[in-house]
C-alpha cells in the first residue's frame, strides 16, 4: 500500500450523499488530479460521521480539519489552499472545531464530547468498501478469537454476562435469545439480521450498514458459531440502496478473504450470508412477518409462541437480532463482557444509538451510554432548540412509542425508565419538539403512518386504528367533542389488548402517551376549539393588529386567496372565511402587524 501524506474523508452517509457528497467526492478526485497530488493525497468515502445537520462533511487528516456544509464549488479551494499550500480553509471549518486559531480534536467538539461510540466505532472512520481498513481496526479479530479460543457455550455466556439487550426496540436480553436458539433441537439453524428499519425519523441501522457493514457480518458469523448455524440472512429494505450496495461489497470481500464460506480461518467452521430485500413494509420489521417475507410470502405476522428461536425460518430454529445489536458483539468479544457491563445503567448496559431529529440544532446520529438524560442529549449534544424556542417534548420509539415531556427532561434514558414513562426505546428515533408543535397533531401523524402501514390481517389494527385516526382528524379540525376523547381512549386500550402483533399492540401508544402528558391540549381543541401550539390550521386565525398596521397593502397584494381587503393608509382586514392560513401575509408584512392567533 502506498503511503499518502494526507487523507481526505468524505462522508458517504445517506444524509451527506443527498446533500451532494458524491459530487464533492468526484470533485476532489478531479482537482487532486489537476494539481498533480494523486500520489500524495488519498480520497476516501466513509460512512456517516453523525453530525448530519452540518453535512456534507469532509475531514482532512493528519490535521483533522473538520469541514462542514461543503459544496462542490468549495473543493477547488480546499485542494489548492489546504492540500497544496497547507493553509486550512477556516471559512469552511465547523465553527465549534476551531478554538483560538487551533483545531480542536474531533472528540473535543461538544457534539461528540458526551458520546461514546461502540456500535458506531468505525462509522466515519474507515472506508466501508475496503475490508482491510476494517481489519486494521481489529476487524474479524473477534471472530478469530471465538473460533480458536472459545466454545460456543462460552460465547453465549459472554453475551449473557455483557448484559446486552436487543437494540431493535423490545430490549430482550440478547444472550438469552442466543441460548434459546443454541439449545433448540435441529441440525439446520439460521442467523437473521433485521435491517428493516421503518420508524419515521430513524436511520441508525442504515447508517451502520452504510458505514461499517463488516461489523454486522462478523457478528453474524460469531452468532452462527455460537448457535450452530451455517447460513445467515440480512433482511434489508430495498429503499436503502446505499446500504444494500455496501453490504453486497462487504459480503463479497469477506468471501474473497475467506472470512465467510467454508473452512473459515482454517478452523473448519462454515458460514455464509445472503441478502434478502424487503419492499419496505413497516410490518416486515416485526420478526414473524420478516421471516414470512424471507420465505417468499406476503409479510404478515403470525402469533407467537412458537418463538423464532424454536420455530423460525422454514420451521427451523432461527436467531434474529437487529443491526445495532450485532454491531456491539465483536467489541464485547474483544474487550470482554465485564467491560461492556460497566457501561450504562443497572439493567441497561452499553450504549444506544439515536437518530436525533426534529427541532434541534445539531440533528444527526449519536451514540451515548445508557442512562444519559434527555437534557444532556437535547442541550449538550443537540445544541438546544433553534430560534430560541422552548423545548416541549421528545418522541421516542416511533409509532410504537410515546413522548417525554419537558418536565421529565432529567430522566436517564434506558429501556426500563422509558417504559415507565409510557414510551419506549424502540429502535432509537428521537424526535425533538418545540413549543410550536401540537401534540394532537403529532399523535395524528403517527397514526396516519400506522393506518397506512397496517398489514390488515387483524381487525383491531386494520379497523381500530382507522377509527382512531378519524377521531383525531375530527378533533384537529375543530369538531371534536369530549365524548370523542373518551372513545379515543377506549379504542386505544382495546386495540392494545387485541391486536395480533407487536405493531398493532403498540399503535395506540402515541395517542395514549400524548393524552397522558398533554391532556390539556386535547381538551383545548375539544372544549375551546383552540390549538395552543398554533399548529392546527383549522383552529387558527390569522389577524391584523389594527394599531400596528400602516395600511401599506403589501399583505393584500401577496395573499393568494384574495382574503385581505382594505384602503391604503387605513388598517386592512382578513376575511376568515376566505383565508387559507398559508401565512404568506405574516412573512411579507414589514411592520410585523399580522400574527397567528390560537
Amino acid at each position: 500500500m502506498p503511503l499518502y501524506r494526507a487523507h481526505v474523508l468524505v462522508c458517504g452517509g445517506t444524509g451527506c450523499t443527498s446533500g451532494g457528497s458524491d459530487k464533492i467526492y468526484d470533485a476532489f478526485l478531479k482537482e487532486i488530479e489537476n494539481f498533480n497530488l494523486k500520489d500524495e493525497v488519498q480520497v476516501i468515502r466513509t460512512g456517516c460521521f453523525g453530525l448530519c445537520a452540518e453535512g456534507p462533511i469532509v475531514i482532512v487528516y493528519p490535521e483533522g480539519a473538520f469541514y462542514s456544509k461543503v459544496a462542490d464549488s468549495d473543493v477547488k479551494e480546499i485542494v489548492e489552499e489546504h492540500l497544496l499550500k497547507g493553509r486550512i480553509v477556516k471559512r469552511l471549518l465547523y465553527k465549534e472545531s476551531l478554538e483560538e486559531g487551533q483545531i480542536k480534536s474531533l472528540n473535543e467538539v461538544k457534539f461528540y464530547k458526551k458520546q461514546m461510540r461502540i456500535a458506531l466505532r468505525n462509522c466515519g472512520v474507515i472506508n466501508p468498501e475496503n475490508i482491510e481498513e476494517y481489519i486494521a481496526y481489529d476487524g474479524y479479530k473477534a471472530l478469530a478469537k471465538v473460533l480458536t479460543e472459545m466454545t460456543p457455550e462460552q460465547v453465549i455466556d459472554w453475551v449473557k454476562r455483557s448484559g446486552l439487550r436487543g437494540r431493535g426496540g423490545g430490549g430482550f436480553p440478547t444472550g438469552l435469545k442466543w441460548e434459546f436458539a443454541a439449545k433448540a433441537p435441529g441440525d439446520v439453524k439460521y442467523v437473521v439480521c433485521n435491517a428493516d428499519e421503518g420508524d419515521p425519523g430513524a436511520y441508525m441501522d442504515r447508517s451502520i450498514l452504510e458505514g461499517d457493514p463488516h461489523s454486522v457480518i462478523e457478528a453474524m458469523a460469531i452468532a452462527g458459531y455460537a448457535i450452530g448455524s451455517k447460513q445467515g440472512y440480512v433482511y434489508v429494505r430495498a429503499e436503502y440502496p446505499l446500504a444494500v450496495k455496501r453490504l453486497e461489497i462487504a459480503i463479497n470481500q469477506a468471501r474473497e478473504y475467506g472470512l465467510l464460506g467454508k473452512n473459515i480461518l482454517g478452523t473448519g467452521f462454515e458460514f455464509d450470508i445472503e441478502i434478502r430485500l424487503g419492499a419496505g413494509a413497516f410490518v416486515c420489521g416485526e420478526e414473524t412477518a420478516l421471516m414470512t417475507s424471507i420465505e417468499g410470502h406476503r409479510g404478515e405476522p403470525r402469533p407467537r409462541p412458537p418463538f423464532p428461536a424454536v420455530k423460525g425460518l422454514w420451521g427451523k430454529p432461527t436467531l434474529l437480532n437487529n443491526v445495532e445489536t450485532y454491531a456491539n458483539i465483536p467489541v464485547i468479544i474483544l474487550k470482554g463482557p465485564e467491560w461492556f457491563a460497566s457501561i450504562g445503567t443497572e439493567k441497561s448496559k452499553g450504549t444506544k444509538v439515536f437518530a436525533l431529529v426534529g427541532k434541534v440544532n445539531n440533528t444527526g446520529l449519536i451514540e451515548v451510554p445508557m442512562g444519559t438524560t434527555v437534557r444532556e442529549i437535547v442541550e449538550d449534544i443537540g445544541g438546544g432548540i433553534p430560534g430560541g424556542k422552548k423545548f416541549k417534548a421528545v418522541q421516542t420509539g416511533g409509532p410504537s412509542g410515546g413522548c417525554i415531556p419537558a418536565s421529565l427532561m432529567d430522566t436517564p434514558i434506558d429501556f426500563d425508565s422509558l417504559t415507565a414513562l409510557g414510551t419506549m426505546m424502540g429502535s432509537g428515533g428521537m424526535i425533538v419538539m418545540d413549543e410550536d408543535t401540537c401534540m394532537v397533531d403529532i399523535a395524528k401523524f403517527f397514526l396516519e403512518f400506522t393506518v397506512d402501514e397496517s398489514c390488515g390481517k387483524c381487525p383491531p389494527c386494520r379497523i381500530g386504528t382507522r377509527r382512531m385516526l378519524e377521531i383525531l382528524q375530527k378533533i384537529t379540525s375543530g369538531n371534536g367533542t369530549e365524548e370523542d376523547l373518551e372513545k379515543l381512549e377506549e379504542l386505544a386500550y382495546s386495540i392494545k389488548d387485541s391486536a395480533l402483533c407487536g405493531l398493532g399492540q403498540t399503535a395506540p401508544n402515541p395517542v395514549l402517551s400524548t393524552l397522558r402528558y398533554f391532556r390539556d391540549e386535547y381538551e383545548a381543541h375539544v372544549k375551546e376549539k383552540r390549538c395552543p401550539a398554533g399548529a392546527c390550521k383549522a383552529l387558527l386565525r390569522i389577524v391584523i393588529d389594527k394599531d400596528l398596521c400602516k395600511g401599506c397593502g403589501i399583505c393584500a397584494k401577496n395573499c393568494p386567496a384574495n382574503a385581505i381587503t382594505g384602503q391604503i393608509k387605513k388598517p386592512f382586514e382578513i376575511d376568515q372565511e376566505k383565508c387559507i392560513k398559508c401565512g404568506v401575509c405574516i412573512e411579507k408584512c414589514p411592520f410585523k402587524a399580522i400574527s397567528k392567533k390560537a
Binding site: 500500500m1 503511503l3 493553509r87 482491510e132 482454517g266
Partner: protein, 129 residues
C-alpha cells in the same frame, strides 16, 4: 484468502500502518513543511515528498508530515520544522531533497538534530561573513 489467524494479523498490521495518521496529531513527531507561495517557489514540494518517501521506506511509526503556511522567513525557504513531544522544535532552513535523507536518518531516527542545516547555524554563518 486468509487461512489462519496469523495471516489475519499480518493484514491487520499492514493496513493499520496506512491508517495510523488518521489519528489526531498529538503524540509522535510532526514534520511541518512551509508550503506558502514562497515555500513552494523555493522548492518545498520535492522536499515534502522526499520526507514522505523516506518515512515510508524506513517504515517509521508516529511520524506525520504536515504542511503549513508562510513561516515568515521567506529568504530561508524551504523551511521545515520538526516537533518532538517534550522537546524544543528544530527549524531547518534552505532544505533540499538531499538534505532530507540526512535529517530523517540522524534526527528522526536517531534523535540528533542536524545542526548545520538549522536556522541558528545559517544565521551565524551570515553574521560571520
Amino acid at each position: 484468502m486468509i487461512k489462519s489467524i496469523q495471516e489475519l494479523e499480518e493484514i491487520r498490521k499492514k493496513a493499520l500502518e496506512e491508517l495510523e495518521f488518521r489519528k489526531q496529531q498529538g503524540e509522535g513527531i510532526r514534520i511541518v513543511v512551509g508550503m506558502a507561495t514562497c515555500g513552494i517557489a523555493a522548492g518545498a514540494r520535492p522536499v515534502m515528498l522526499k520526507f514522505v518517501e523516506e518515512i515510508q521506506k524506513r517504515n517509521l511509526k508516529n511520524v506525520t508530515v504536515v504542511q503549513t503556511g508562510c513561516i515568515g522567513l521567506c529568504k530561508y525557504e524551504p523551511i521545515v520544522e520538526v516537533y518532538e513531544p517534550n522537546k524544543e522544535k528544530v527549524t531547518y532552513v534552505k532544505m533540499t531533497p538531499e538534505k532530507v535523507s540526512k535529517v530523517v536518518a540522524e534526527h528522526i531516527v536517531n534523535g540528533k538534530p542536524v545542526y548545520e542545516y538549522t536556522i541558528g547555524y545559517e544565521e551565524n554563518k551570515e553574521a560571520n561573513k
